[in-house]
């Protein structure tokens, strides 16, 4: 099955090359792009269908157990040394990345559809970069080797730089440059941290000189259980490694004072770029914390990470929400809402218990769906009005009923209405954090109220109120079939996750429990995600 993963990752790249060959014929280019992205989606569904929730060969105390693995030596350097430095092309998938992969392939399909008429300049290059970006994103989620992870992580900068820089808004060059440099600076420091971690493991146990994430997680766990001087060594090392990882991932998430690149990049990016930026790219940061920081540097996460990240997340939740409240530009509002929503996700992950981690992981998917869809809607409206200012909107519900339906539906999902997806993620995250530090959870919960406030006032100033007599409003046409096709799957998924969260939580349960078990003395099975009353009540409806 590993070859399916590889095919899924490489397929968009092949599509991109084909698109460039066909550059002279925009129609062929568009159809190639949609066929390629649909094929990638189909492959991700094959992966989903073949995914085994309880892997039979999982060992009792294994931290990570990727499935459908594919391993090949990439860089091996062993002359003169007994134990070679070994970097692998190590692909796989597990419960934490499974849904993110599906989310990525789904959002790329929507991005291709929404750009169909919006992008007319250098069409072939646009779709080529979009597909290359998909390869990069899928690669990050399927990488189980530190360096492979990092390579894909950093590689995503290049396609997004061009997407924002060439097809973006009026300040595109500045936005693209700032985004690129900001994230690169952080991730270079992370690279030093990752190397330091591998060398530290090797220092204690010369037999292990690997970059494989599961192997490292296991080895660090063993070493942490060792004698006191070993533990003292790791306490110091983990602190520094965590700081380095934090530099890269906190910028990507983004956490509060590191978020300044985000509103700019989101607003200037073309619709497809914003969708993938908000929907998937920001998840690289939180996924990085989940995949690398939580299992690899547990001590630093528990001591330094929790207060640091929780405080910054809480500030981000409130700050992002207040910023969103004051915006007059619809796209900026959605961009700031991302800062706020990602705060919930981070609160969940850093609750370090099964509820929180499951909630945080689910919140990544939810945010990808709702914010991705919100950016799609903003883009569709912009294509019609050529404006994103609330002053130019109002009373659109009467003129664009289908659009209004989707906007209301997605906004409700984004603000966490029970029965839709946002609710489960936020509640689980907050419950998790409440168990650890009630204060953060209580303050963070205030963000939900603010979220309802700014999203409802957005709905009010765009859709509701009397029809306005603006020339631009007279000849508006409602969403066409292509646009509905871009939105409908996302909306359906929002509803499905909201009503039946169990299958989603079940697939990630073994991995979530394994990570939570690192932080708890009692066996992981004692804490059952499904035993949470809130969920049980929801499902009984």
């Amino acid at each position: 099955m590993g070859s399916v993963l590889l095919a899924m990752i490489l397929l968009p790249l092949v599509g991109a090359v084909f698109v460039l060959v066909m550059a002279k014929r925009p129609d062929v280019v568009r159809w190639t792009a949609i066929v390629t992205s649909l094929a990638a989606l189909a492959l991700s569904l094959v992966v989903l269908a073949n995914f085994q929730t309880t892997s039979p060969d999982r060992l009792a105390d294994e931290v990570m157990s990727p499935q459908m693995t594919l391993q090949a030596n990439w860089l091996e350097f062993n002359v003169g040394a007994e134990h070679p430095i070994k970097i692998e092309a190590y692909l796989g998938i597990d419960g934490l990345s499974l849904w993110l992969v599906v989310l990525t392939t789904l959002l790329v399909v929507s991005s291709v559809l929404v750009s169909w008429t919006a992008v007319t300049d250098r069409v072939a290059q646009f779709y080529a970069w979009l597909l290359v970006l998909e390869t990069g994103l899928l690669g990050v989620f399927c990488a189980f080797d530190l360096i492979l992870f990092y390579v894909f992580f950093e590689f995503t900068l290049i396609p997004l730089f061009f997407l924002i820089g060439i097809w973006g808004g009026s300040r595109r060059e500045y936005a693209a440059g700032k985004f690129f440099i900001y994230t690169l600076t952080g991730s270079l420091l992370s690279l030093v941290g990752l190397i330091a971690l591998v060398l530290a493991v090797n220092h204690n146990n010369p037999d292990v000189f690997t970059f494989s994430i599961p192997q490292l997680a296991q080895e660090i766990r063993t070493q942490m259980a060792g004698p006191e001087e070993m533990r003292a060594f790791w306490r110091i090392t983990q602190f520094w490694v965590f700081i380095a990882l934090f530099a890269g991932f906190a910028i990507k998430v983004p956490l509060f004072p590191f978020h300044t690149w985000l509103p700019l990049a989101h607003v200037e990016a073309p619709t497809a770029g914003s969708v993938l930026l908000a929907g998937v790219l920001l998840k690289l940061g939180s996924y990085g914390f989940l995949r690398l920081a939580l299992p690899l540097v547990p001590h630093a996460v528990a001591t330094v990470g929790v207060p640091l990240v929780a405080i910054l997340s809480v500030i981000g939740i409130l700050y992002g929400a207040f910023c969103a409240l004051t915006q007059t530009d619809m796209k900026k509002l959605v961009a700031y809402s991302s800062v706020s929503h990602l705060g919930f996700c981070m609160l969940g992950l850093f609750a370090l218990n099964a509820e929180g981690i499951a909630g945080g992981t689910l919140q990544m998917i939810n945010h990808g769906l709702s914010t991705g869809a919100l950016f799609l809607l903003v883009g569709m409206l912009y294509e019609r009005l050529h404006s994103r200012q609330f002053d130019d909107m109002g009373g659109l519900a009467g003129r664009l009923p289908i659009f209004a339906f989707f906007l209301v539906f997605i906004s409700l999902s984004s603000m966490g209405l029970p029965g839709l997806n946002g609710f489960i993620g936020e509640v689980l995250s907050l419950i998790g954090m409440f168990k650890l530090h009630p204060v953060y959870a209580v303050i963070g919960a205030g963000g939900i109220v603010l979220g309802a406030w700014y999203l409802l006032s957005m709905l009010q100033s765009t859709l509701f109120g009397p029809k306005r007599d603006i020339p631009a409003h007279h000849h508006l046409t409602d969403l066409n079939g292509r646009e509905v096709a871009a939105l409908a799957p996302i909306a359906i998924l929002c509803l499905v996750i909201g009503v039946f969260p169990r299958p989603f939580l079940n697939t990630m349960k073994p991995e979530v429990d394994a990570i939570a078990a690192i932080y708890q003395q009692q066996p992981a099975t004692a804490r059952n995600v499904m035993a949470i009353p809130a969920i049980a009540k929801l499902e009984s409806r």
Binding site: L75, L157, F162, G165, L184, T185, L188, L199
Partner: protein
């Protein structure tokens, strides 16, 4: 004297390819006097003939070395002046490839009056570089380095007959002579301490302290040698000539200056400093030399990369930008050099050489791209000259993007592994200084990203400039082919790093 001469004779077979190259180059110079006259078409034919001869002079040794290895003895004598060791086996073919690429670049701007002299200088320089790679003796090393330097002066002088080129040449000449004096003075201290000009003997005597030599003398030697070679690798504070000379001379000559002296300098530093003075098995009396040397090199590295990058940020001329970027890269490589110890995986020498080769490919590529395009009446100089290249000359723009991302160190280019190796080396050394230096390297790489990205931004995001034209591929197939190969190498080494890593395997372990 007799012993010294004997040691050269002993290694006559080892340096046979270089002797042949020097012979051919001499022949070219002789031919030059007859070729300089004649009509335009005759001069044109003469230029082609000279190019062909240089191609033979560089290509045949390359094929020979790759196919059959060095013609020297299989077990080199330890006291030979030139030896065929792992370092030489890597650098010699690489330097011939570099020479061939520069030949292709020079072909683009061949000096009409003195084609033979022009190309002869190139062959001399590459022969000198090959000799530097195999030199095992202080005097042989110095003479080889001069064989690189002296033709460079002529090349710079011949390149362009205007005042700016003259200024550049004089600047380079004076500073180069000055630095050679430093180097020679440093070598004399080293010889005094080691009791011989032969590096193997010097190394051996540093392992067994005799009590006659104080470590202070070696420290002086180290500082002087590093200062002398610092000029060649363009490290701060010996870098002042670089931007002026790069801007004042022709594009191919600037490409040569960015790559060849850097290879020569780093190879000499590896031979003299890394494997002799920073060695881990130094006698107890000299043990402090290792820490001292590492500190000197680490300080130099920090200074060089930071100053290079910050000044590169301020440039509006591409050539000055590339000059400062070459300064910054010297700083990165000094990080690897400052880590002693051959038993690390990878060790400092391996990391430096990997970086050096990758850097050479990408820098030559960057200069090659600038030769592909032409502003009306002048060659490319300002950063804004590449405006909109992505839509007007897509091929050149793609290559430029690959090389710029490569110099930044982004995946998927070989530059990523270059930086990766340096990080690993600096961190695995275990010293706090080196670890801080690794962090500084990361920050510097991010600063550098800004100005490399700026070129990509101009090429793809700006509106095209009308008066920039490209040299069509039909007229310069060699240039297009060579640049294409450079790009393929820059990307290919990323996906298959083992190809290069395995070549570096035995390095620094003997």
């Amino acid at each position: 004297v007799e012993a010294a001469l004997q040691s050269v004779f002993d290694s006559a077979w080892t340096i046979a390819p270089e002797l042949v190259m020097v012979g051919i180059a001499t022949l070219l110079v002789l031919m030059g006097s007859y070729l300089a006259m004649g009509t335009a078409s005759e001069r044109h034919a003469a230029g082609r003939l000279c190019t062909f001869i240089s191609l033979i002079a560089l290509g045949v040794p390359l094929v020979w070395l790759v196919a059959w290895g060095s013609p020297g003895p299989a077990e080199p004598l330890a006291n030979a002046a030139f030896i065929d060791d792992p370092l030489a086996r890597i650098i010699q073919p690489a330097s011939l490839v570099v020479g061939l690429i520069i030949l292709v670049l020079m072909r683009q701007r061949l000096n009409e009056k003195y084609p033979a002299e022009h190309l002869a200088c190139l062959v001399f320089i590459i022969a000198g570089l090959n000799l530097v790679a195999s030199a095992n003796d202080l005097i042989a090393l110095f003479v080889s380095l001069e064989l690189v330097s002296i033709p460079t002066y002529i090349l710079l002088y011949l390149a362009r007959p205007d005042a700016r080129a003259m200024e550049a040449t004089v600047k380079y000449f004076l500073l180069s002579v000055f630095s050679s004096a430093f180097l020679l003075y440093g070598m004399s201290f080293l010889m005094g301490s080691g009791g011989s000009t032969n590096l193997a003997v010097v190394s051996e005597s540093l392992r067994q302290a005799t009590g006659m030599v104080s470590v202070g003398m070696l420290q002086v030697a180290l500082v002087l040698v590093v200062a002398g070679l610092g000029f060649r690798i363009a490290s701060v504070p010996f870098h002042f000539y670089a931007p002026d000379v790069f801007q004042g001379t022709t594009m191919p000559a600037a490409a040569l200056l960015a790559v060849v002296p850097k290879i020569a300098g780093f190879v000499a530093l590896l031979r003299l400093v890394w494997s002799v003075m920073l060695e881990s098995q130094l006698a107890p009396d000299f043990a402090s030399l290792g820490t001292y040397g590492a500190a000197v090199l680490a300080g130099l590295a920090l200074l060089t990369m930071t100053v290079g990058n910050v000044l590169a940020l301020l440039q509006t001329s591409i050539r000055r930008l590339l000059a400062y970027s070459s300064v910054a890269h010297a700083g990165y490589m000094l990080v690897g050099l400052a880590v002693p110890g051959a038993n690390l995986v990878p060790n400092g020498a391996q990391a430096v050489l990997f970086y050096l080769l990758v850097y050479s490919i990408m820098t030559l590529g960057a200069f090659g791209v600038l030769l592909m395009i032409k502003k009306q009446n002048r060659s490319i100089d300002l950063v804004s000259d590449v405006d909109g290249l992505g839509s007007t000359h897509p091929f050149a723009a793609v290559l430029l993007a690959v090389f710029m991302f490569g110099l930044t160190g982004l995946p998927p280019t070989a530059g990523f592994w270059g930086k990766f190796n340096l990080f690993v080396v600096a961190w695995s050394s275990g010293s706090l200084t080196m670890r801080l230096l690794a962090v500084c390297l990361a920050v510097n790489a991010a600063i550098a990203a800004w100005y490399y990205l700026r070129l990509v931004k101009y090429a793809y995001l700006n509106a095209p400039a009308n008066d920039v034209s490209a040299v069509p591929g039909r007229q310069a197939p060699a240039l297009y082919g060579a640049m294409g190969l450079c790009a393929v190498a820059a990307l290919g080494i990323f996906f298959f790093p083992n190809v290069l890593m395995s070549l570096l395997g035995g390095l620094g372990l003997g």
